[in-house]
């Protein structure tokens, strides 16, 4: 017994960053092994781009607007949608509860999970931008810093909202219904308002107050116009506000366990 105790000094145990790194590596490995995750994350935006490209072919002005819109949608699907799905799945299956019982620090766990989402988003934006450049004839992004700032703000915002939203989903079976009830209308309305000059004013007001449209605006500025961060601070503020709200509820209401009826 004494010998057992001696092996465990007070400083024993691995560091938080190392464990976050290990969690990240595990998340990456699981991501690549899950065919449907890989499909939704990489093929789907490409299909959207291809479809839009065919419909709008020849209209460079419209194609220029398509790419940032798809990029923003990709941010939302790799973070909000993916996290809501994963958290509900892991919670309902009891994986989160099991992790909760180990010495893995919470911050390492979420560090790994969030880094995984950031990686997916970065890959997606790269794919969308590259496909836009090679297939749809849009230019390279005009403002790399602005692109990074908006992408990162979007990731943080939609990660927080995705985790927070998972609290509202009562069981795994209804995840798709819940997620799509938010994702589809938000994407549809944001695309519509972004693209149409004749959208009703009240709709524009609403959509501008939601986080996706400001993200599209920001990415549009970064990729296409290069108008600079200064002109898009209001959009950034809306995203940050939603992000703060999302993170607050993500942490506050977080449940490691299936709720019992």
């Amino acid at each position: 017994m004494a010998e057992l105790r001696a092996r465990r000094g007070p400083s024993a145990g691995r560091g938080i960053p190392l464990l976050a790194w290990r969690q990240y590596r595990l998340e990456r490995r699981m991501f690549w092994r899950n065919p449907s995750a890989a499909f939704f994350n990489f093929l789907l935006p490409l299909l959207f781009l291809a479809g839009g490209g065919i419909i709008l072919s020849g209209n460079q002005h419209e194609l220029n607007r398509l790419v940032p819109a798809i990029a923003a949608m990709s941010v939302m699907s790799t973070t909000f949608t993916a996290l809501a799905y994963n958290i509900v799945f892991l919670r309902e299956r009891g994986v989160l509860k099991r992790i909760r019982g180990t010495p893995l620090p919470t911050i390492s766990y979420f560090g790994g999970v969030l880094a995984n989402a950031v990686t997916n988003t970065a890959l997606q934006i790269a794919i969308v931008v590259l496909a836009g450049r090679l297939l749809l004839g849009i230019g390279w992004p005009r403002d790399g810093v602005e692109l990074a700032v908006f992408a990162l703000a979007g990731v943080m915002c939609f990660c927080g909202l995705g985790v927070a939203f998972a609290h509202l989903i009562p069981n795994f079976e209804s995840t798709a219904a819940y997620v799509n009830a938010v994702f589809l209308p938000v994407v549809f309305l944001s695309f519509y308002v972004f693209d149409s000059k004749s959208a009703p004013a009240f709709l524009r007001t609403i959509v501008d107050a939601l986080p996706l449209k400001p993200l599209i605006d920001g990415l549009w500025a970064a990729i296409v116009t290069g108008s600079g961060l200064g002109g898009k601070l209001d959009a950034l503020a809306v995203i940050a506000l939603w992000g703060a709200l999302g993170c607050y509820y993500a942490i506050r209401g977080f449940s490691w366990e299936q709720a019992r009826a």
Binding site: Q23, L26, M30, G94, K97, R98, T102, P103
Partner: protein, 288 residues
């Protein structure tokens, strides 16, 4: 509250209560588990076993009473405490796209002095499935993985909530063997089970719970015979099975055999037995 035994007690529970809304799942229990002991928690469905265990594991907050686990309050959820305990939940999932070996390697890194992963795979009988994604494992194999994940950190104290449910008989035997080996290594084990033979085989002491209370506590052998009575059974001339309790079987047998001989009858199927743990369990947990 007592602190006199805190040095050799791995777990102490004083007047523990747990309410879910208006429902009282645990109603004031006192338990003390010594270091190096295998302690069994028995009781029918809904007795409050999992509730008690999960309070000790730090998953649930108690409503009243005090608990100490390896000298700490589990409600504080200190990382240092979690490094010293291993947990098999009554039901818990694992990542679908990860193999047992990968899961164990990942888990091992959480702990300061983990066991060798290959050794734990062998201990849990998972060598053949070590590289199979967990979604392709059978229910019993997943349960073995639960076991392996709880052991890989080489914990001092292990909670096993119905660890062998879903095991085939051979797997159950080998799980028992594992528990005995862990005890030989000086580990403390708190185990819940519905299998009385399992409690009898493994536990140094058991507590029988029902409706949130502890009804009996002690070594399974002594508990069974705790009433100090013997049971004498035989079939009478009408063919009925008669069962009698006595503290003095010699005298009772003498009376019974004398009467039977006087009547010229035989006492068919005559037997003398001590009540087993199962008898006591059924008696204590019977309704009404």
């Amino acid at each position: 509250m007592s602190d006199s035994t805190s040095t050799d007690a791995a777990i102490e529970v004083w007047g523990l209560c747990k309410r879910y809304g208006a429902f009282e799942a645990v109603r004031g229990i006192d338990i003390s588990v010594r270091r190096g002991e295998v302690f069994g928690l028995l009781g029918p469905n809904g007795a409050g076993k999992t509730t008690t265990v999960e309070i000790l594991e730090g998953y649930r907050q108690r409503s009243a009473g005090d608990v100490s686990v390896l000298g700490e309050d589990p409600a504080s959820r200190k990382r240092a405490l979690r490094q010293r305990i291993g947990i098999v939940l009554q039901s818990g999932g694992i990542y679908s796209y990860v193999t047992p070996r990968e899961a164990l390697r990942h888990w091992a890194a959480f702990y300061p002095a983990p066991r060798d992963v290959e050794e734990v795979l062998a201990l849990a009988g998972l060598q053949d499935k070590a590289a199979q994604p967990s979604r392709k494992l059978s229910g019993g194999q997943l349960r073995r993985l639960d076991f392996a994940l709880a052991l890989v950190g080489d914990p001092e104290l292990i909670f096993l909530d119905e660890p062998t449910t879903g095991f085939d008989p051979a797997a159950r035997r080998s799980a028992w063997e594992t528990v005995r080996r862990l005890r030989d290594l000086g580990k403390t084990i708190l185990l819940t089970t519905h299998y009385l033979d399992e409690a009898q085989e493994l536990a140094d002491r058991v507590a029988i719970m029902k409706d949130g209370r502890v009804l009996a506590i002690g070594p399974p052998r002594e508990l069974g015979s705790g009433a100090s009575s013997y049971r004498v059974a035989y079939r009478n001339h009408a063919g009925e099975l008669i069962e009698r309790q006595t503290d003095d079987p010699t005298r009772l047998l003498n009376e019974l055999t004398a009467e039977a001989l006087a009547r010229g009858e035989r006492l068919e199927e005559l037997s003398v037995g001590r009540p087993t743990l199962e008898d006591l369990y059924l008696e204590l947990t019977a309704d009404g």
